[in-house]
């Protein structure tokens, strides 16, 4: 045994520690506070349990502060940890999205867990762990780090879905989500192993370089059998996470059965994280397999276009006749995955801005809508049917108006944020000038028109139906504050989007390779 080899290979701890402090401060803070919350749990009496929530909010706030500092500090992309992580505008913007999603979710959950009688610190620490996983995902520059943080997020989400363990529906949702989830993880891994086999690399940029070199050598590997199979397998796992047709079927069931606050989180956080690594792997790692729609090389853009068309249409149409509010919103979330894919398909600056800004506003509008659904859950009332919104305008006019604004934004009606997002996504497609993609854009517009129909069912129930039960909503200060913030942001982005566009340009600059 050559002991010298081990000594030589000794990791440079100083470098690692510096990297950690420099590049991963927000993640470390989030994990640290998650552990604090776990420990704090032991010290609190059942009456004091809410403090765990406040502590986790404080942790997220601290992470947000350090993230803000990083925005100032990092003007160019930096890699660290032996090229395992990259901190660039793209990662930072996504981390902001995850932190916002986590903060909103915790604020929504406090009262909800009281109602469910499951107020425990583990819940909050799990949300923090999931957030940390998502943040690692956004900065992953290597298949290995992406995979392991993907699993951190996914496993945490499975536990959160099963969190109401005495509720049959929660069990069932967790079971389905878990089974299909690890099935898709297996597919993901198999795809990664094929890509690794082709290029002998796990680092995304190196994979891209090797594929480019192979293409230059006219080697059949570059676009052949193994590359395509690996690409499709990885794409399948991504499609699964963002719930794109035909990999979406877990989504309505899991969303319906999961605790509503967790559903709210899942519909925003993990979805955005999946889009982050989707963009990262496909744009950084597999640009050579992009292909186009001319028939010369039918790369991943074709696959994405077909899946996106299917997803929008299927999601919107299946939502039409749902009576469960949670299932309806699940299908809405599926169709939004279809819209978001348009950004990747367009592949130009406008499209990427659309992807990022839509995910950003999606946090506000979707979490807002879910927040109102969460508030419907009272001691004896499930509050998950569209009918349960009947006459909300009489019981709580503020909630009804805010819900309307969120729904209009989800539809994409002009003075709201959803319009700005859809504008960029659609404009990106138009900019490509490809007839197929413009046809796709037309399909998306038609789908937007369809979607109004089922969102309008909420509006109709809230404003035009008679009140069924008079019990007041489960509102708390934090919930109200969240919803008001979300409303203000939805309107602000809708009316004056320029600063937010400038903010998302941080992210797109990287994707465009600038």
């Amino acid at each position: 045994m050559n002991i010298m080899l081990l000594i030589q290979a000794k990791p440079d701890w100083q470098v690692l520690a510096q990297d950690a402090a420099r590049l991963l401060m927000p993640e470390m803070l989030v994990i640290l506070f998650a552990c604090f919350v776990l420990v704090l749990e032991f010290m609190l009496t059942p009456e004091q349990r809410r403090w765990a929530a406040y502590l986790s909010l404080a942790g997220l706030g601290a992470a947000g502060l350090s993230l803000a500092l990083m925005f100032v500090k990092f003007t160019t992309a930096e890699v660290g940890f032996y090229e395992m992580v990259v901190v660039d505008g793209f990662a930072l913007v996504f981390k902001v999205i995850f932190l916002l999603a986590a903060i909103f979710t915790i604020a929504l959950s406090i009262k909800f867990l009281d109602v469910e009688n499951e107020q425990r610190g583990e819940y909050y620490s799990l949300i923090l762990f999931a957030t940390a996983g998502m943040m690692f995902m956004a900065s992953g520059a290597d298949l290995l780090s992406i995979f392991i943080s993907f699993e951190l997020m996914a496993l945490t989400t499975y536990i959160l879905v099963a969190y109401l363990k005495r509720d049959r529906r929660s069990n069932e949702a967790a079971m389905k989500y878990f089974l299909l989830g690890i099935f898709s993880s297996g597919i993901f891994l198999y795809g990664m192993s094929l890509i690794y086999g082709l290029t002998a690399e796990t680092n995304l940029t190196k994979i891209a370089d090797t594929l480019a070199r192979l293409a230059r050598q006219q080697a059949p590997q570059a676009t052949g059998f193994v590359a395509m199979a690996g690409m499709i397998f990885i794409a399948a796992a991504m499609f699964f996470k963002i719930a794109a047709v035909p990999f979406h079927m877990w989504c309505p069931d899991a969303y319906e059965g999961a605790p509503t606050s967790v559903t709210a989180f899942m519909s925003v956080g993990p979805k955005a994280a999946a889009f982050a690594i989707f963009a990262r792997i496909f744009i950084d790692g597999l640009p050579g397999l992009r292909g186009d729609l001319t028939g010369e090389s039918f790369g991943w853009v074709g696959l994405l276009a077909i899946v996106s068309a299917l997803t929008m249409t299927w999601g919107n149409i299946a939502a039409l006749t749902q009576n469960s509010a949670k299932r309806l919103m699940a299908y809405s979330s599926i169709s939004h995955a279809g819209y978001l894919l348009l950004g990747l398909i367009a592949g130009n600056e406008t499209g990427y801005i659309g992807l990022v800004i839509y995910l950003f506003v999606y946090v506000f509008m979707n979490l807002g809508a879910w927040g109102v659904i969460v508030a419907q859950r009272r001691a004896s009332i499930l509050g998950e049917r569209v009918d349960d919104f009947n006459g909300l305008i009489h019981r709580s006019p503020g909630m009804a108006v805010m819900m309307t604004i969120f729904l209009l934004s989800l539809t994409g009606i002009p003075p709201t944020a959803g319009f700005v997002g859809k504008y960029f996504l659609f404009a990106g497609l138009i900019e490509t000038g490809n007839a197929w993609l413009i046809a796709l854009c037309v399909l998306a517009v038609i789908n937007t028109a369809i979607s109004l129909y089922y969102y309008a069912r909420f509006i109709k129930a809230m404003f035009m139906s008679d009140v069924k039960e008079e019990e007041p909503l489960a509102l708390s200060t934090s919930l109200r504050a969240t919803l008001v913030t979300a409303t203000v942001m939805v309107l602000l982005v809708g009316v004056y989007p320029r600063p937010f566009i400038a903010f998302t340009e941080n992210a797109t600059r990287h994707l465009l390779g600038l």
Partner: protein, 710 residues
Amino acid sequence: MFLKLVWLIPALPLLSAAILGIFGRPLRWSERTISWIACGSVFLSLVITAGVFVQYRAAHWPEPYLTSEAGGFPHSFVWVPGGDAELSLGPRAGQRATFRAEWSYQVDPLSMVMMVVVTLVGFLIHVFAIGYMRGDGGFYRFFAELNLFMFMMLTLVMGSNFLMLFVGWEGVGLCSYLLIGYWFHRADAKAASMKAFIVNRIGDFGFLLAMIAVFSLFGTLQFTEVMRLAADEAYLPTEAFGMFGMASWIALGLFIGATGKSAQIPLYVWLPDAMAGPTPVSALIHAATMVTAGVYMLTRTNVIFMKSPTMMFVVAVIGAATLILAAVIAFAQTDIKKVLAYSTISQLGYMFLACGVGAFTAGIFHLFTHAFFKALLFLGAGSIIIALHHKQDMREMGGLKSYMPVTYWTFVIAWLAICGIFPLAGFVSKDEILWRAFTTEVIPGGRWFWFIGLVGVALTAFYMTRLMALTFWGSPRFVPSTQAHGLSDEPAPHEEPRESPKVMTLPLIALAVGTAVAGFVGWPPALGGSHRFERWLNPVLYRRATNAEAMAHHGATEYILMVVSTLLAAMVMAAAYHLYIHRKQTLQAIVEAIRPLYIASARKFWVDEFYESVFVRGLTLGFSRVFWRTDTRVVDGAVNGSAWFTRFSSRLSGWSDLFIVDMIVNAIGFGLRVFSVAFRAAQTGFTQNYALVITFGLLIATAAYFIWGS
């Protein structure tokens, strides 16, 4: 100086809306304060508009466009920046253009006309509403929404690109939704607002597609640029009649948008229901301004329409059909506002007919005059409704002439105008339309359209005279059945109907004056005028060379046509007066004789019921059976299937009332719903089915790449 203030015209109502919306309730302002703020802001807009008009006319006309981009006046900003885009259609396909949304205004003859109409009529209606809404609990909310509407409408007419037009377009739809549902505790108001919103959205979708096509073809959304390029014969060639090329497709999308907003066949069903809103709203939004946005848009894009005779023909046919259908339905309505609503649809049909035969000036001129007399009619109806404590059924009116003299005499002027009696505004604009239809060379069959228009004149004269007879003349019928005010059930003490207060009658008088004189703006040369209105609009209109001769052609024919239509109207009016006042038995006999037609008219030709029964009940039931079978056989075993069918059939009965509100969407959406049920059936709840679908998807994708990819 006024041109620098153009941006204030929409901004002032917006400011007022914001102030009222935010502070109105918390500060508990009195109605007086609120009305001063609301009307004051609109009045200031009116003043600025007048100033801009004078200055523009003096300094700039006939140079057509004055836009923010060209530095005409300050305060445009890039609302949403965009990137470079590759054009995909037309001769410039492959070139790149910048796609961005700009917030900028434009002053040109067309938008000037619209601004004058919107601010002037809007101001008068605001003043009227002070009296009409007195004592209503949501006074501040009403005026905030009304002001917001003014902002959106002004944005619509002043925007200098398609995107601004679209924002205003959506915005007025939203405000209309809010204002129709203003009394949201009333079931009909809630249902109507929803219906209006959804039907409008169907139209919007056509407009949006057209907008995408416009950008892909021209590479810009600026009106000036688009119109300049579209006028170029090499860029967008004129199509032959019967051809359906690029211009026709764009025009089709725009026209679908216009039919939704302007209540034309087949999307007209929302407008009568929209009368559930407060009467000033009906007057402002559903008669004078918003519903005419479609005509405005057609005129704004007249170049594209002129390039496509096919679509022009479609527009004319739809306009003509709408004007007849709506007028016939108006025959048998008993609700005074419903009659006026169908009358509005009918008059909008005239405007579309005018656009269709290529006489955009005539369409806009009719829009202009119609704004005055129809607002006057609605406000008069509002005055009556207030006097009768919110009763709208004409069978319980009659003899109001002596109780409400001011309302009566102003109403008479409007009645004469809408019937087309010389020399009021309606006569001038309607004859202009008929004459242009008669002589059109843009599309074939002009004389037939003229004939339809003439029939429309007769129908209009009849139902308007009927309205007068039932409301103002004859003997009072309201005494025995005086009902409570509003919704409360306690009977109110009977009192005589009184003339409305000054704040309501003064706008009536002002509008009556407008109705009387508006026609002289466009007095035809045949009667010694000089067609000022047409010359004013000329710079924004595209005209093909062949058309010029027809324009100049005047002669005996025109006088004959004028006399024919006026005489016809007068005769029908006299006949109707005679029938309704002196010969009720004859009337009864006639009604009995044509009973089926009468019932059909009263039931609006069962269009709503048709949408309901055909699309909602029949087809869904049939299709659901089919899907039930496939589901049980293919997807799952019979056990699950029968349980599912039980749930499904119980849901079916729930559907019919759940979805009654939005029948139009059902018409489009029934197919979607069938698919929806099928898609839901695929979601079996059985995890391994999902895994199988995942595997299947993987297999298909991989196979596709292996077989076709390499």
